[in-house]
Symmetry: C2
Subunit: 230 residues, 2 copies
DNA sequence: TCAACGGTTTTTGTATACAAGAAAGGAGAA
DNA sequence: TTCTCCTTTCTTGTATACAAAAACCGTTGA
């Protein structure tokens, strides 16, 4: 497909794109924790540009839901409460399930090959015990299913949401034995798709994603004693 | 809920919001047909503002997928092929089905009342034969289900997509007897929700939306003899 | 001590100015 | 005539300047 609009479709200028990507990573990476105020002047100084491209990048970030722009007040890194995160995983599960159902019916032999290749990459990463390699291969695996759905709009939606959840999914791979379990779930998904069994694929994928949400939930619960969930 | 961010969550400034809404309507209404180039200077003249707020509105429109910004080339109204439109309806059907499944389980008596009220408004609009009143009441009806899902993120996604499909849904209401059929489908949906039957609600809603996509497809097919579907 | 008021300062929102790339149009050669 | 190259013009992208609103802060009064 086109390399232009991978996870994020709309990019105004090249520098705004670059700015947005750096800011995304910083927000995901905790450089700007939730609630942080992103003031335009500081960002302009940091990137050695004027406020104009900064503002444009902020608007894009707001559109993707990462920050919130309160008129005349400024841009704030959005608090994503556990509640909302679980909601997002629920929706993600449904989108992936839908992709899977369609992919089981529609994938071409070529696409099957790509899926299997990604699955084998996951296998190698699992054996070598390299979580970040697994994370990467896992991305390819799911991408194969998105594009295999034959519904490009659906695929775009799935990519966009996956991208928003990326930092949390990454975190969650550190949970005990999650990589191994994830790989086994993939195994079932691949089998169902190769069988062309849409219902089985759908259910396996939904469960696969929902488990991630639950594991994440457990993980968070083990960190803090209590939270008011927005 | 908050009146601030109804269908679209992120709005930078108040004037950018106003600009975006007008442009959205113009694009939907055919003032700017697909492929049209939106040059900043003309828009600035039209709205009697500088290019700055225009650019910000365009970036938001690009983020919502209505236009495409090609760097250094300008903003173009996006062509939405029949193919893509059907894909969008497919996804919408799934989102609504999910809302329905959750709503059937989770809606409070208050929310039930609001749903029924919207349904009755639909009934009045059907009897009076006023399509635009029906369109409005129909929006309330679906909104009741979105917010009744108890998953605010899901509700936001549903609203956003519904907003993008709005012009096409509106068009489609002119199809012979579509309003009457739509109302009957609502009837089944309300019954299923009041019964708390999640599976029945899910299926009724999915069918309700998919039919819209199909009817729209028929409608388009009846207009042009042939199309290459991008 | 605390709350309310007013002025100062900072920050956002908008307009304008400038730079650089793309499109358009014309001149010249084949 | 038609293709190519170059110049001109126009449009976008970025920087800066200005206006207005919000935040800040010290003062004053109870």
């Amino acid at each position: 497909m086109n390399t232009e609009s991978a996870p994020h479709a709309p990019t105004a200028t090249r520098t705004a794109k670059a700015l947005r990507e750096v800011l995304e990573e910083d927000i995901a990476g905790g450089v700007y924790p939730p609630g942080t105020r992103l003031d335009e002047a500081s960002l302009a100084r940091r990137f050695a540009v004027s406020r104009t491209p900064i503002r444009e990048a902020l608007i894009e970030l707001a559109a993707s839901g990462l920050i919130e722009i309160r008129p005349r007040r400024g841009a704030f890194v959005r608090e994503i409460g556990i509640r909302r995160l679980i909601e997002m995983f629920e929706v993600m599960a449904e989108l992936e399930a839908m992709c899977g159902r369609l992919a089981a019916r529609r994938m071409t032999p070529d696409e099957h090959a790509r899926l299997v290749a990604a699955h084998e990459a996951c296998a190698r990463a699992t054996e070598s015990g390299d979580p970040s390699a697994y994370f990467e291969a896992n991305g390819q695996f799911h991408e194969a299913i998105y594009s295999g759905s034959g519904n490009e709009f659906l695929a775009e939606q799935a990519r966009a949401l996956q991208s928003r959840l990326k930092p949390y999914r990454r975190l969650q791979l550190h949970v005990r034995n999650r990589v191994g379990n994830s790989f086994q779930e993939h195994e079932a998904i691949v089998a169902a798709i190769l069988d062309g069994d849409d219902t089985r694929t759908e259910e396996a994928l939904r469960a696969h994603i929902l488990i991630q949400g639950e594991r994440f939930n457990d993980f968070v619960a083990s960190l803090r004693p209590r939270d008011g969930a927005s």
